[in-house]
């Protein structure tokens, strides 16, 4: 089936190419008009929407953070008060974790993974659209509740019994638990989509050991999502049941246990950190390779580190619970696991430094963000080793030290690489170049602002400032450092505004990027910027890890029918061509199904009739979704 034929490019083949392009454009045409907006399933379109939505939530979460910083800027402040403050930190945490960090990393994956593995789109385009809409509905629901001053107020971790029926009457916690369910549903769907895309739609020749590290990172992350998210979905379901129909999963009076909630939540919650952080590591790898102008040092150790992180990530949830006084022996185990997870992260940092060390550096903005990432993340990693130690953790747990630590890890470890990634892939996403000077100014401001904001929090925590307090007495002496942190937060804001300005300016009048402005190595840079809806005119085939540096254009796939939405399915390990699969086109059903999901889950808060309602709606959606398309395939011989 595979043949090597030498051919000459002739006028004939050129007109052939033109016809091919016309047919592909026609087959993969984006939906038009108002209705088309709701039917679209093209992965670049959906991923772009997801990115924009995630950044809108990032901005909202940021505003909440600023309000909290204003409240804490001086002692005995009454700017916001306890009730609103509790809503703010709950919604801030939930937004950043569920509505920004996970979706934004998945959106980057949905956009880039198909391009990077040489596929036309994702394996399940409709599921992708469904995932986006569920996420959107969940996010909007959370903010409707916040803006009506009935936002959840028991923290992003919502410990029972505080969040249980007795101590949190009303609907606030119900909103939270349903929002979590929405976002997890979305994350799980997207993860499954990314896994199948990665394993089954890779270009011929892209064996697993030739996959770009970013794709590896998204693959490993997606597997973590598959095994971690069920825990929190189960936990929030049980919480909702405790609150709505009177079950007793967490009620210590009749055999339940509040600690059970913590186990379930952190069994998800700790892997969650790595779910956010691993894709960012993938972005760093892409950036480091491109701007060092050479392959990464230690591809295999890098991949093994990602996998090791994923496994270890499931073995250290208890370090969030040291203060509950669990048995000493168990604590030793979890300390060891928590300390040892620093090793795979360390290996990756060493590999990047070795790569930079022996590269020919191009100091573009994305690389600056990587430098910032290394500096900040190492601090966060080291304070992470501190909180892994039981005695130290008992002092700093639930204090501002941990606030500092987690922001060093999550902003340093995920947002800085993400900003680097945005600067790096912006040309691909939009076809325009960002301004380098503004980019670097943005970096300097965000880096300075970040450290001004969060470094003092280490000290505040050690000095005795607990988390989640809406105010403190002047006599505590927490005032000056808090004021410094608040000032820093505004510097950080200025930095992010510079980044935003840069993006807007580039969209309006940016320099044309062309397909490959950075002379990068991976496949996404071989197609137009932004890519056509069908992405690849000829599907590529590859023979190495760095196809664009190795002459990708020497090998193409032929024989796909451009008049159908065909994708080439290859073998999971060695990516040998296996069969040709036809994808469904645009559809309104993903949106309708997401709306049905939304109606069901939201109604559930108010009445148990939501269950039969959901059952009916769900059946209708399933039938609609899977309604047979007009057959394009060979029918079975014997038909009625």
């Amino acid at each position: 089936m595979t043949s090597t034929v030498a051919t000459e490019s002739t006028p004939d083949s050129r007109s052939e190419d033109a016809r091919l392009e016309r047919e592909l454009t026609d087959t993969w045409r984006l939906c038009r008009g108002f209705a088309g907006w709701f039917c679209e399933t093209n992965h670049t379109v959906i991923a772009r929407r997801m990115l924009v939505t995630a950044f809108v939530f990032f901005a909202l979460g940021g505003v909440e953070a600023l309000l909290m910083r204003l409240e804490l800027a001086r002692p005995d402040n009454h700017f916001i008060g306890p009730d609103r403050y509790d809503q703010l930190f709950t919604v801030h945490g939930s937004t950043m974790m569920f509505l920004f960090a996970v979706p934004v990393m998945q959106a980057m994956g949905i956009y880039l993974v198909p391009l990077m593995v040489g596929a036309r789109t994702v394996a399940f385009p409709r599921l992708n659209a469904y995932a986006y809409y569920t996420y959107l509905i969940g996010g909007v629901f959370l903010y409707v509740s916040l803006f009506t001053d009935t936002g959840p107020d028991t923290g992003w971790f919502s410990y029972v019994p505080l969040s249980g029926p007795q101590f949190s009457p009303g609907k606030r916690v119900d909103v939270w638990s349903q929002v979590v369910t929405f976002t997890e549903l979305s994350a799980l769907s997207t993860a499954a989509n990314l896994i199948v895309t990665t394993l089954k739609l890779r270009a011929p020749g892209m064996a697993l050991n030739r996959m770009p590290l970013f794709v590896w990172a998204e693959l490993v992350t997606s597997f973590m999502v598959i095994f971690a998210m069920p825990a929190v979905m189960l936990a929030t379901m049980c919480l909702a049941l405790d609150r709505l129909v009177g079950t007793h999963f967490f009620n210590s009076a009749v055999g339940g246990d509040p600690l059970l909630w913590q186990h379930l939540f952190w069994f998800f919650g700790h892997p969650e950190v790595y779910i956010i952080f691993l894709p960012a590591l993938g972005m760093v790898s892409s950036i480091v390779v491109t701007f060092s102008r050479r392959p990464v040092v230690g591809y295999l150790p890098m991949v093994l580190s990602l996998v090791a992180t994923a496994f270890l990530g499931f073995g250290l949830w208890v370090h969030h619970m040291f203060a509950t006084g669990l048995a000493e022996l168990g604590q030793g185990f979890f300390t060891a696991a928590s300390i040892m997870i620093a090793i795979p992260s360390g290996v990756q940092i060493f590999c990047w430094i070795a790569t930079l060390w022996s590269g020919r550096l191009v100091l573009a903005t994305p690389l600056w963000f990587v430098f910032g990432f290394v500096a900040i993340f190492v601090v966060g990693g080291l304070s992470g080793v501190m909180v892994a130690s039981v005695p130290i953790d008992l002092q700093v747990h639930d204090t501002f030290f941990v606030v500092a630590h987690l922001h060093y890890v999550l902003i340093g470890g995920a947002v800085f690489p993400l900003l680097g990634g945005i600067h790096y892939w912006f040309p691909k996403l939009t076809g325009r170049m960002l301004d380098e000077r503004l980019g670097k100014a943005g970096f300097v401001l965000t880096f300075t602002g970040f450290n001004l904001t969060f470094f003092p929090m280490h000290l505040l925590g050690l000095h005795g400032m607990p988390r989640r307090i809406y105010t403190y007495r002047a006599a505590t002496g927490f005032g000056p450092l808090n004021l410094l942190a608040t000032v820093g937060a505004f510097v950080l804001l200025a930095g992010l505004l510079v980044v935003l300005t840069n993006v807007v300016r580039a969209l309006l009048s940016g320099r044309d990027a062309g397909p490959d402005p950075w002379q990068s190595d991976t496949l996404e840079w071989s197609v137009a910027s932004p890519p056509a809806p069908y992405v690849y005119e000829h599907l590529p085939c590859v023979a190495g890890r760095y196809p664009l540096w190795e002459g990708i254009r020497d090998c193409v796939v032929e024989g796909m029918d451009p008049r159908q939405r065909q994708v080439l399915v290859t073998a999971a390990l060695d990516a040998a061509p296996d069969h040709v699969y036809v994808l469904p086109g645009p559809s309104i059903w993903p949106l309708l199904s997401a709306v049905a999901t939304g109606v069901t889950f939201i109604t559930m808060i108010f009445t148990p009739w939501a269950v039969p309602l959901g059952l009916a709606l769900g059946t209708v959606c399933l039938v609609g979704w899977f309604w047979p398309r007009p057959p394009h395939e060979p029918l079975l011989a014997e038909q009625p």
Binding site: S3, T4, I226, C555, L636
Partner: protein, 201 residues
């Protein structure tokens, strides 16, 4: 111009069974997700168990055991037509696929019936205590899997009789069969936990 290596895919088939098929992977991942949920809920059962002195707080009655045994028997029986149906799908034998799909759907509906019996036979409610909650939770989770399976089976029955049946639907039939194995397989540890404990106390 340079030479171009070409990989020709014109001759490739348009569908494939098992792990070669993307949908198979999709359903396999769904099974991972739901399997994890079952495992966690079972862990919740045992976690709650070690915190309570008397367990089960209200032992499932004799009726419950009969009902649970009935569901288990029906589900185990349904494996046979599922297996035969998959075999027919590999061979593309539409008549046999139809026959076994109908049989399997009938059995899945029967399991739904015995499940209702199970719920009614339980001598405690979900809001009795933590034990009640977790048992009802396990049963409800499995009923959700079962219900989804029933809806899918019914859809396939309609498709198979109404047509047009494409060759690629053979793969979907196989994948549906795999999901059904999961429904049955997921039930066994739940049944062993809920009823086994009462049986061998």
């Amino acid at each position: 111009m340079s030479e171009r290596r070409r990989v020709t895919v014109r001759e490739l088939p348009s569908y494939a069974f098992g792990p070669r098929d993307p949908m198979w992977w999709g359903v396999a991942l769904l099974m991972c997700i739901e399997g994890t949920t079952i495992a966690l809920l079972l862990l919740m059962y045992f976690y709650t168990r070690q915190r309570v002195d008397v367990w089960p707080t209200t032992a499932p009655a004799r009726d419950s055991l009969y009902a649970g045994a009935a569901t288990t028997a029906v589900l185990l029986a349904s494996i046979v037509p599922t297996h035969l149906m998959n075999g027919a799908a590999y061979r593309g034998d539409l008549a046999r696929i139809r026959r076994f799909m109908v049989l399997m759907t009938a059995l899945s509906l029967a399991a739904l019936g015995t499940r209702i019996w199970e719920f009614r036979a339980l001598p405690f409610r979900w809001d009795t205590d933590a034990y009640g909650s977790v048992v009802w939770g396990l049963l409800t989770l499995q009923t959700t899997h079962l219900g989804l399976g029933v809806i899918e089976n019914l859809m396939f029955v309609v498709l198979l009789y109404r047509g047009p049946v494409e060759k690629k639907h053979l793969v979907d039939v196989e994948v549906n069969g795999m999901y059904w194995y999961f429904v049955v397989g997921g039930w066994l540890p739940i049944a062993a936990t809920i009823y086994g404990e009462a049986l061998f106390r």
